[in-house]
Symmetry: C2
Subunit: 151 residues, 2 copies
């Protein structure tokens, strides 16, 4: 099987991808909350090799069990999101309404890159953006079941 | 929004597409059954325009309500499947295990093009192929809710 085409990845993401920003209580943080952005692609385990091909294409991220017989390719590291995922979907534009989620996700990543999630005002701004995301979609793919930042 | 890229369509189909062969009792047919192959792409209605773009790309098929707030792009006409869908996914190969369903679907279409679905032996062969399709996937997208061959 040949290498993946970037347009294939965009089409697959329009179908199966999710941009999610979790905001969880965390007493270790001075603002009391941790912001956890993640990009996921979920697939039945029979196509596990496909998720590994996507991981190889990007050069980062992890493939993990999602729930039952489904696996997820997942990117959580801020640098991988900022330097890899954001430029990719800026260059190769999503064709579905998921593009609007991506734009909000990008706003959050850019705020985080400037450390704004560590300040009260910035956290409030991120909350507002996150609340407006994934509103039109079933959120089965958007709830992280594991919390380890292992990518 | 620019025209769709064929690799995008393949990626989207790996995520959201379904190749299905229905075999329904029909007393009008001399063999007693009607073979109904269909290719569908299902999407939330907020992305209805995207399904219309796919229809425009192929130049055939219909966009219809699937169930609740989901719509489907659907191709059922044998000529459109044989002359359009089959060559497309032969040239631009699916990357997931859905490719195996496509190969079986193609076998059925080629048999139908030779009229084999109108003979007892051919119908038996098609039944065997159809029974081996979609075995690994949730079949929510594969049950036609309407039976009109309206494309």
């Amino acid at each position: 099987m040949a290498d993946l085409n970037p347009y294939w990845i965009v089409g697959f993401t329009d179908g199966e991808g999710c941009f999610h920003v979790g905001i969880n209580p965390n007493s270790d943080m001075s603002v009391g909350f941790q912001v956890l952005p993640e990009f996921t692609l979920v697939q039945h385990r029979r196509d596990e090799q496909l998720l590994h091909k996507i991981k190889a294409y990007f050069g980062f991220g992890v493939v993990r069990r999602n729930h039952q017989d489904r696996l997820a390719y997942r990117v959580r590291a801020l640098d991988h999101l900022h330097d890899g995922i954001i430029p990719f979907f800026t260059r190769y534009q999503l064709q579905s309404k998921k593009h609007l989620d991506f734009l909000k996700f990008r706003d959050v990543i850019l705020l985080m890159k400037r450390g704004k999630h560590l300040e009260e005002d910035g956290l409030r701004a991120i909350r507002r953006i996150a609340a407006a995301m994934n509103t039109g979609s079933v959120k089965i793919e958007s709830s992280p079941l594991e919390t380890g930042g292992d990518d």
